[in-house]
């Protein structure tokens, strides 16, 4: 387990939990949350400054050793995602980018076609591109060809806490795609994060489930443990599933009258 690192964009990551920074009651809790989770990759968003309500710079709350991964949320097509990515890079956040192209306001499901287009352009510009996508094998292959550094299929709609609703499709991506598969969105409980890791996901990205917990710091710790447990179980190789019972104790030498 010592050498079990996840390599993305030249970075070696010991933690397989990626953490979002949205929806916290107060940003001041973020350093503690990140520390408790063990996460080394942390997402942020880019927005217009409101001079009347100046917000604190969220990046200041993220521990320095973490990789900052801005997302392109708010983008409705590839062109807007590319614009946001370039701005984020200019803001001094490094070259990681989570591509998020959404034109559906009810389910916030990503537009896979526009996501592929944005990935092609940004990967060619030297970005480390992690596209958020609806789990689909053909799209994942195209994203890999376009130069994505990892693929981030959704488990359920963003912020829904519904768990791994797309499990079977994600499993196919894990089997067929050579890139790291990172389950992003929908994971509501540590057990679901463990489930994703047990089936071979390379990492999970969690935001809402931690941010809206009664105790985000404790929940962050729980997710860190669950991701680590799930990964260890995957590496250990789970036994096969059987229809009927198979006694664990010997069926001989019973004490009988």
């Amino acid at each position: 387990m010592q050498n079990d690192v996840l390599k993305i964009g030249g970075q070696e990551l010991a933690s397989r939990l990626f953490l979002g920074t949205g929806k916290y009651g107060s940003n001041k809790i973020i350093p503690q949350v990140v520390e408790a989770s063990g996460a080394q990759v942390v997402t942020v968003a880019l927005r217009r400054v409101d001079p009347d309500q100046p917000e604190e710079n969220i990046a200041a709350y993220v521990p320095r050793q973490c990789v900052l991964m801005p997302n392109t949320s708010g983008a409705r097509n590839a062109k807007e995602a590319i614009r946001i990515a370039r701005l984020a890079k200019a803001a001094g956040c490094g070259n990681w980018i989570k591509i998020e192209v959404i034109a559906d306001n009810r389910y916030l499901l990503p537009d896979n076609y526009e996501t592929i287009k944005a990935t092609e352009v940004l990967a060619a510009e030297g970005f480390i591109v992690l596209p958020y996508m609806s789990p689909d094998l053909a799209t994942a292959k195209r994203l890999a060809d376009a130069g994505a550094a990892a693929i981030m299929p959704l488990g359920a709609p963003i912020g829904s806490n519904r768990g791994l609703k797309t499990k079977e499709l994600i499993k196919i991506l894990i089997e067929e795609i050579a890139l790291p598969i990172i389950v992003d969105a929908g994971i509501g409980k540590p057990s679901e994060a463990a489930e994703a890791m047990e089936m071979g996901a390379s990492a999970v990205l969690v935001n809402t489930a931690v941010a809206i917990a009664n105790d985000p710091v404790a929940m962050a710790r729980a997710f860190g443990l669950a991701v680590s447990a799930g990964r260890t179980a995957f590496l250990a190789g789970p036994g096969s599933v059987q229809e009927y019972a198979s006694a664990s104790s010997p069926l001989t030498g019973f004490l009988q009258d």
Partner: protein, 68 residues
């Protein structure tokens, strides 16, 4: 004379010969945490004093916020 421009989508006016740096200083923003776009071109901080705002210019000033 005032010069009408758009800042973050809102129409406003600034004095003549107002530079990008003047604008940003006036808004009292945390300079380390923002990125500025002038007419769709990203402008690095060292170039802010050289850009004099013209009528109908569009300026976007962005920063990082919490997100997933």
């Amino acid at each position: 004379m005032r010069v009408q421009i758009k800042i973050n989508g809102k129409t406003t006016d600034v004095p003549e010969n107002h530079t990008l740096l003047d604008l940003i200083t006036l808004e009292n923003l945390n300079l380390s945490a923002i990125v500025v776009e002038h007419n769709r071109t990203i402008v690095p901080a060292p170039e802010w004093p050289a850009i004099v705002l013209q009528p109908d210019d569009a300026v976007e000033i962005l920063t990082f916020v919490g997100g997933g």
